[in-house]
């Protein structure tokens, strides 16, 4: 059992096989946790397809399985794994994060208040929002 932390949250992946460098997941888990599917044109997420480097396809796709760690590195995203390999973070890419910020569109998020209720930034659209951080020290 491997826990995957992706942009969409925390996912428990039962059939995953993790080594130091690779994280092989079933096609179903790769799609459910990370949103990627294998197609003839390469690995795809929604309308975007990434062609696999010629001759290296087996590093990414093997039968029905997808190596998410290899895909993430190939895309220039950060990958961090726990020492035992039981938790993996499939993180963001600096390039994409920079581009998103440069658009000046305030990225949406959902965070809980103390009662556990989730608030989205977009719930407050139409107001001038003063988003301020603090810490209890």
């Amino acid at each position: 059992m491997v826990t995957l932390l992706t942009e969409s949250g925390e996912h428990e992946v039962t059939g995953a096989e993790a080594s130091t460098e690779a994280l092989w997941c079933s096609a179903r888990d790769a799609e459910g946790a990370a949103g990627w599917v294998s197609k003839p044109e390469g690995l795809c997420r929604g309308p975007v397809c990434v062609p696999l480097p010629a001759g290296r396809e087996r590093e990414f796709v093997d039968g029905g399985r997808i190596n998410l760690a290899a895909l993430w590195r190939h895309l220039g995203h950060s990958v961090v794994r726990s020492e035992r390999g039981h938790v993996w973070v499939l993180g963001e890419s600096a390039r994409e994060r920079k581009a998103a910020l440069a658009s000046l569109e305030a990225p949406d998020f959902a965070l809980p208040d103390p009662s556990g209720r989730l608030h989205r930034l977009s719930d407050y659209r139409g107001k001038k929002i003063f988003l301020v951080t603090w810490a209890s020290w």
């Binding site: 950060s78 961090v80 440069a102």
Partner: protein, 221 residues
Amino acid sequence: MWQALQEELAGHGFQVIAVAMDSREGDPLPWIDAAKPTYPTLIDREHRLAELYGIVNVPQAVWIDEAGRIVRPAEPAGAYEGFRQMNRVTREMPEDVARRTAQAKAIYLDAIRDWARNGAASAYAFTADQARAHLPAVTEESVTAQAMFRLAQLLLRRGEREEAERWIREASRLHPDSWCIWRQGAGVTELGLAAQPDFWSRVDALGAKRYYAPVDMPGMP
């Protein structure tokens, strides 16, 4: 401080959203209770706002207009370096430093008022080009550090404290400008984190570098 501002400016479509960059269980709750805020106070254990907005310290704020556009990227919210010159035993500040600290806060609060009342016409609301020029740095290291921090938070929740602490230290090493990451990795004593020798030695190591990044507003110290 934000509660008074929220009440004063609510009629201008102004909304405070406060986010606690705390990852210790239960930590911000007594503080939120004491402040009795009418605005939302959210808890960001995994520091999602650090990933999305480049927050590296508190208090930092982002101004977002009615259309969801960033008009002032992450910057210190009325905070000033003054504390670095306070007497570490008596916690007293030299008079001129205390004056500059108060001045920084007053200028910042007035800037918020001006923006709330005048919107895009406010001199404090950046144009798109100005806003882009003030965006925080995002690097491969900072992005990887946030991923490590997220890993650490999950390990902490599962009781794997030792490994979690190693990841927080590694994240802090990769992204030394983030006081938010460092703060969650530092041990807490009964003195409170800010009174600890570890904190002061890290602040002193900054030398001429700012603890709170400079804020681009006229007259700001």
